[in-house]
């Protein structure tokens, strides 16, 4: 697949934002580690919504006919892309209410609790849908697995968590300790998730040139594709990174995305560094998971390539 920058920004940024929102809300509602101060909760929420918004806006950039973008909400019944949009849009009012009221301390606790829970749920549902947009496609075996939504959620939470931790290193609020511990856990979880995923896509399965042409006995080779230059299909699906590049980038994903943040957060727990370390962890995680996302698209092999010379996907 051709990795479009707009889609990479979309998934990474909104993932992080939504992860942050989930955590901020849950910390508030369940007073985890003493809960967030009104200010902390407000800034975390605002940051979360900001990242989410950037992501959603980015996603519209790869539309060839944006004037019809509003219609994307209409097929909630069947389309995960549609669902993603609907959840995201629903999220805003609840999230705004929750974080503003929490900031102003202007609402009864039961109401805040309800709003908070709803916010967290909607945010989760949105990230899940994002994952399902890809996981539901049988045309790309590298995507067609429940590992994909799992990864999307874990990595969204991981990014959200490092950001939350960073905020707390500034405010030095009560929840910092809980946050760092949690961050450490999700980072490890997300990292493991990715390891499993890379293993899983390693073994070949799915359609081959033989099942595509129906000639299951003997070698089948493409002679001519009936076109002298590339067409839409080749532009969209033709891209394939070299194995060596993939290898290098995967290391970068592990290193930047997980190892470095994990080390830094561990140091935080040991009361080393503070904001500086936390902030570096954020940058590193974003870089790593950005690369992870690029690979996520680049490594996906659409079956249509079978009709352009590939033997299997």
């Amino acid at each position: 697949m051709h990795p479009a920058l707009s889609v990479i920004i979309f998934t990474v940024s909104s993932g992080a934002g939504l992860g942050l929102i989930v955590l901020a809300a849950l910390f508030g509602v369940f007073q985890i580690g003493g809960g967030l101060t009104p200010n902390e909760s407000f800034w975390a929420g605002l940051l979360g919504l900001l990242l989410t918004t950037v992501g959603l806006l980015a996603s519209t950039f790869h539309l060839a006919n944006p004037k019809n973008a509003w219609r994307a909400f209409s097929r909630f019944r069947s389309s995960w892309l549609s669902r993603e949009g609907v959840f995201a849009v629903l999220l805003y009012p609840f999230a705004l209410f929750y974080f503003v009221l929490a900031w102003q301390e202007a609402a009864p606790n039961w109401l805040l609790a309800c709003l908070g829970l709803l916010t967290a749920l909607l945010a989760l549902a949105t990230v899940f849908s994002t994952g399902m947009i890809y996981a539901c496609l049988r045309t790309m075996r590298q995507w067609n697995t429940s590992l994909v939504p799992t990864n999307y959620i874990l990595m969204g939470l991981a990014l959200g968590a490092v950001i939350l931790t960073t905020v707390l290193t500034i405010t030095r609020g009560p929840a910092l300790e809980a946050a760092t511990t949690l961050t450490l856990m999700v980072l490890i979880g997300a990292g493991l998730g990715k390891v499993i995923y890379y293993f899983w896509i390693g073994e070949p399965r799915g359609p081959t040139i033989n099942t595509a042409t129906g000639f299951t006995r003997g070698a089948v080779r493409l002679f001519e594709s009936g076109q002298s230059s590339g067409n839409f299909l080749n532009k969209e699906f033709g891209f394939q990174p070299s194995a060596s590049l993939v290898g290098k980038l995967r290391l970068a994903v592990y290193g930047l995305g997980f190892v470095i943040p994990i080390v830094l957060v561990a140091l935080l727990i040991a009361n080393e560094g503070g904001f500086a370390f936390a902030f570096i962890a954020v940058l590193s995680a974003f870089a790593g998971i950005g690369i992870e996302r690029w690979l996520f698209f680049a490594e996906a092999r659409h079956v249509v390539n079978l009709f352009y010379g590939q033997q299997h996907t």
Partner: protein, 961 residues
């Protein structure tokens, strides 16, 4: 939700019928027009040729019509600029025609030969030929000489019908079909229709071809033969058949010259000639009466085999005896042939025996009373359902004439000529073997030729040479170098004219031929020749006129460019006097009518020819007073008569269109054609549909309508006395013209075998076959026509670059990687091309799609078009001359008998290009754009009306699960 779309508005549309000319197949089309634009071109269901279907080219007519390469105005080479620099200035038609007619008038008044007029892809040779004849120049021919004259000549001298466009397998009845060397051919749609028919009926389809694409892809059996060896394969099958007495005795005795007696007097005059009586009638030995009898009469019982002595003591043998002696020789045994053809001996034997089984054990019968030429009544037609088709894989070799004769020999042995399930002639064929027309020889100022420029020599006397034996035609057709060059040698015209050999010419007219590029051998040198000047600083070809519709590579070299219309903008008559579109059961012809107004200052060439014929006062075109007789092309076609009652169009003749085939001219004939969807189809009564070479009613009718000069039966000539006469001339045993040059003598002796034979292709016999290890051939892409279709925005998306295709294993053995660049070298030059591996390619063969490579800037394409940067022509490797041999003048790279261009004799060696060496080579300077032509558009959104979108209701969007 609304289920029916709002359909397009047919009220705004207009449907007209005409004839496609995206290629030479000439299918019937229905053109839907909207606002004087083409909305849709559809195959005409009622049309005999395509029966409703349409090929990729035909479907892309719209893109031809809007091609940016269309010529817009007559143009003259800018005074003071060099030929080939492509600098033109537009001139008016009056200027252009005055200029040309004056020049031609002088030539015609002095030495008409100095006009050479050669045509390419046109299908109006009857008119261009008549024009040349009336002008008085023998230097005319169409493209047949570089195309497939080998097929036409072999067939017409042997069976009276031939492959190419002149006959068809009996698609509806054949049970065994063998396809020799055909990728596409002229009958593009009919062959496809036919192949589907026979596959549906469960007939077996065997393909003999070094490459497996297209038709071969769907063949039941594919025989990857070594190029240039088909003659041997066929003769080896003949060996198998004869050695097992698997031949049709009756057919041979009744319809062929197999029982004729041949004089055996080696080293003496008359050796190898047919024994004849006083009236010149061929003699046979009658087994009943035990005496020599006139072999043409019936009721006798000639012996098919035997050796006898004449009263004067000469030994004579029947043709069939000679054949048995020749073909039973071990040289033709499958084991020997296998080594030559690369086809296993078992396969050769099996194929022959399979054909024999189908011919003799799966015989079919068509119940129908008919009368043979002897008046004998029959109640059925016996069919031997084995059929063949063959084309350039056979003909484009220097042994193609004899190889094609070998195929006909097989057909005759199996008795499958013009019978149910066999190979059937299309009117005006069958004709006599050969038709009694002699090529014109003598020219004189202001006098038409006594006969057409092209004809069928029967003996050395008929050659077009002077008293000293020098060629009289600029292409040296009908000279010792190419004695029965029935279609001329278009591929030699430029070379010979530039060498002034046999003489210099003044004006050269090319019509519809891309002779500076894909249609010529040795393209690069030919371009230099077109620029060549003599000491006097004059061009060696003083005046070059190009009549074309598009900006081709040849247009670039013109001194005068006459822009033609497109096929949708003009009237055309596709005549039975010309290359027929007939079907076996029905003589047919057709017309084109303009369906679009030209948006440019262009004229149909046929109009221009009729106009000039009037201006120049050609006898057939002016009245007694010398004034033009015809108001224009359509008037000429309607009124001109070849013989009383016979004209270009056979339908609706007679004052009121009451008589078909023959009848007085009909002023409303064109209208009648238009009313009948632009074609005419005459259905032969069933009893005239088979065995027409000996079918009494058919033969009488064919004479009546002017197909044949006589109603005598057509005798198939397994043994060619014509060839034997040329061989005798070579041996110095002929009392008549004989060659002086030892080279000519040797060639006549070596190649003019009166019985079909096989010899190594000439180029191969002169180069180091181990060094140049590969045969290099071409294929027609089904979706493109020669050079025309690179200007077609739809078709070029399918193929804008060609590759050199190679057998994968062989390439890997040589370390040549898929898609790598290689140097390909022949005795004549080298090119750099990109390789593509494939399975379906014979190991010693490489091939490419024909005519994809283009000169940068031609055809309205950007200079960096793949056609110019990565595509290529094999033509640069192919020389029009054979590799030199000492003590010998340079000879044409053609069949030594017919002069057919030997394109596929090419042998090459292949070596990887150095790293970084990419892109095709040679590179040519980009051609200049033409005055008055706009930049080619960067995007096309062709449509004739806004699309009628099919809406989905919002309710459905929201409610559907």
């Amino acid at each position: 939700m609304s289920t029916l779309p709002q359909f397009e508005n047919h009220a705004r549309q207009d449907k007209k019928y005409t004839t496609c000319y995206m290629c030479a197949c000439r299918c019937g089309i229905e053109v839907t027009l909207e606002d004087n634009q083409v909305r849709f071109i559809r195959g005409n269901r009622n049309h005999p040729v395509n029966q409703g279907v349409l090929c990729a080219k035909g479907n892309a007519g719209i893109m031809k019509q809007i091609s940016p390469a269309k010529l817009r105005n007559p143009m003259r080479r800018k005074p003071g600029t060099e030929r080939g620099a492509g600098e033109f200035e537009e001139v008016s038609w009056d200027e252009a025609l005055d200029l040309l007619t004056e020049r031609l008038r002088t030539i015609r008044a002095t030495d008409p030969k100095k006009l050479a007029f050669f045509t390419g892809r046109d299908q109006m040779q009857a008119l261009t030929g008549l024009w040349a004849q009336q002008f008085g120049t023998i230097n005319w021919s169409a493209h047949g000489g570089f195309c497939s004259v080998n097929m036409a000549a072999a067939g017409l001298y042997m069976t009276g019908q031939s492959f190419w466009e002149f006959g068809d397998p009996d698609w509806d009845r054949t049970k065994y079909f063998m396809l020799w060397g055909v990728a596409e051919d002229h009958a593009s749609n009919p062959i496809k229709i036919g192949i589907e028919k026979l596959k549906r009926r469960g007939a077996k389809f065997v393909s003999i071809n070094p490459v497996r694409t297209g038709y071969q892809a769907v063949a039941d059996e594919w025989i990857p033969i070594k190029p240039g060896t088909d003659g041997m394969l066929a003769l080896s099958m003949a060996h198998v058949l004869i050695s097992r007495e698997l031949f049709d005795w009756e057919f041979l005795v009744r319809y062929t010259n197999a029982p004729f007696l041949v004089v055996q007097s080696p080293g003496q005059q008359g050796d190898g000639l047919i024994l004849r009586n006083e009236e010149g009638k061929p003699l046979v030995w009658d087994n009943e009466d035990e005496e020599f009898l006139d072999g043409l009469q019936f009721g006798i019982s000639p012996s098919l085999f035997g050796e006898y002595r004449t009263a004067d003591g000469r030994s004579v043998k029947t043709v069939m005896t000679l054949m048995a002696e020749k073909y039973l020789d071990p040289r033709y045994a499958p084991e020997a042939a296998a080594k030559v053809c690369g086809v296993p001996a078992e396969t050769i034997e099996r194929l022959a025996l399979e054909m024999a089984h189908v011919a003799f054990r799966e015989t079919i019968e068509v119940d129908c009373e008919w009368t043979d030429w002897e008046g004998r009544k029959h109640d059925k037609f016996i069919g031997r359902p084995v059929s063949m088709h063959a084309m350039r894989g056979i003909s484009a070799h220097s042994n193609g004439f004899q190889s094609c004769r070998a195929l006909h020999l097989l057909q005759i042995l199996l008795g499958t000529i013009d019978c149910p399930g066999g190979h059937r002639a299309k009117a005006p064929f069958p004709r006599h073997t050969p038709p009694p027309i002699k090529p014109a020889r003598d020219t004189a100022p202001n006098t038409p030729l006594a006969s057409p420029p092209l004809g069928f020599p029967m003996a050395p006397e008929d050659l077009v040479i002077d008293a000293e034996g020098r060629p009289l035609r600029i292409d040296k057709a009908y000279s010792w170098e190419a004695p029965i060059a029935n279609h001329g040698l278009m591929h030699m015209v430029i070379t010979n004219a530039v060498n002034g050999d046999p003489y210099p010419i003044d004006t050269l007219i090319f019509f519809m031929a891309n002779m500076a590029w894909n249609s010529t051998m040795n393209s690069r040198d030919v371009q230099d020749m077109l620029r060549a000047k003599g000491e006097d600083g004059e061009y060696k070809i003083p005046f070059l006129v190009v009549v074309d519709a598009f900006h081709s590579e040849t247009v670039n070299f013109a001194d005068l460019v006459l822009p033609d219309t497109t096929y949708l903008e003009r009237f055309d008559a596709i005549s039975m006097l010309d290359r027929p579109i007939s079907e076996p059961d029905s003589p047919c012809d057709s017309i084109r009518q303009p369906v679009l107004e030209p948006d440019r200052n262009v004229r149909p060439w046929q109009e221009v020819m009729v106009d000039m014929a009037g201006r120049l006062g050609f006898p057939a075109f002016v009245d007694e007073a010398g004034n033009p007789k015809f108001t224009g092309y359509t008037d000429f076609i309607a009124r001109w008569e070849k013989a009383p009652g016979i004209g270009f169009l056979a339908g609706w003749r007679g004052e009121n269109g009451e008589s078909h085939m023959r009848g007085a001219p009909n002023p409303d004939q064109w209208q009648k054609y238009i009313e009948n969807q632009c074609f005419f189809q005459y259905h032969l009564p069933e009893h005239m549909r088979f065995y027409r070479f000996a079918n009494r009613d058919y033969l009488d009718w064919a004479k009546e309508v002017g197909f044949n000069a006589s109603n005598e039966p057509i005798v198939m000539k397994l043994y060619s006395e014509v060839l034997q006469k040329f061989r005798l001339a070579g041996q110095g045993l002929y009392d008549g013209p004989q060659p002086a040059d030892p080279t000519d003598k040797k060639r006549l002796v070596d190649y003019c075998d009166p019985l079909p034979d096989w010899y190594l292709p000439l180029e191969e016999s002169r180069i180091d076959a181990d060094e140049y290890a590969f045969h290099a051939v071409n294929q027609r892409p089904m979706h493109m026509y020669h050079s025309w279709d690179s200007q077609n925005a739809w078709l070029r998306q399918i193929t804008a670059q060609n590759f050199l295709y190679m057998n994968r294993k062989r390439a890997e053995e040589m370390g040549i990687e898929d898609l790598s660049w290689v140097w390909v070298e022949s005795h004549n030059g080298r090119i750099r091309v990109q390789v593509k591996h494939m399975e379906g390619c014979q190991r010693d063969t490489v091939w490419t799609w024909n005519a994809i490579g283009k000169q940068a800037g031609a055809w309205g394409l950007d200079a960096d078009a793949p056609e110019a940067r990565r595509g290529f022509l094999m033509n640069h490797l192919i020389s029009e001359l054979l590799p030199p041999a000492d003590g010998e003048r340079r000879l044409t790279n053609s069949d030594p008998i017919t002069g057919q261009a030997a394109w596929y004799d090419l042998k090459v060696k292949i070596s990887p290009a150095a790293p970084g060496e990419v892109g095709s080579w040679p590179e040519f300077p980009a051609m200049r754009g033409l005055p008055g032509t706009a930049e080619s558009p960067a995007e096309l959104r062709y449509h004739t009306h806004e699309a009628v979108n099919l809406r989905r209701s919002f309710k459905d969007v929201l409610t559907r699960k």
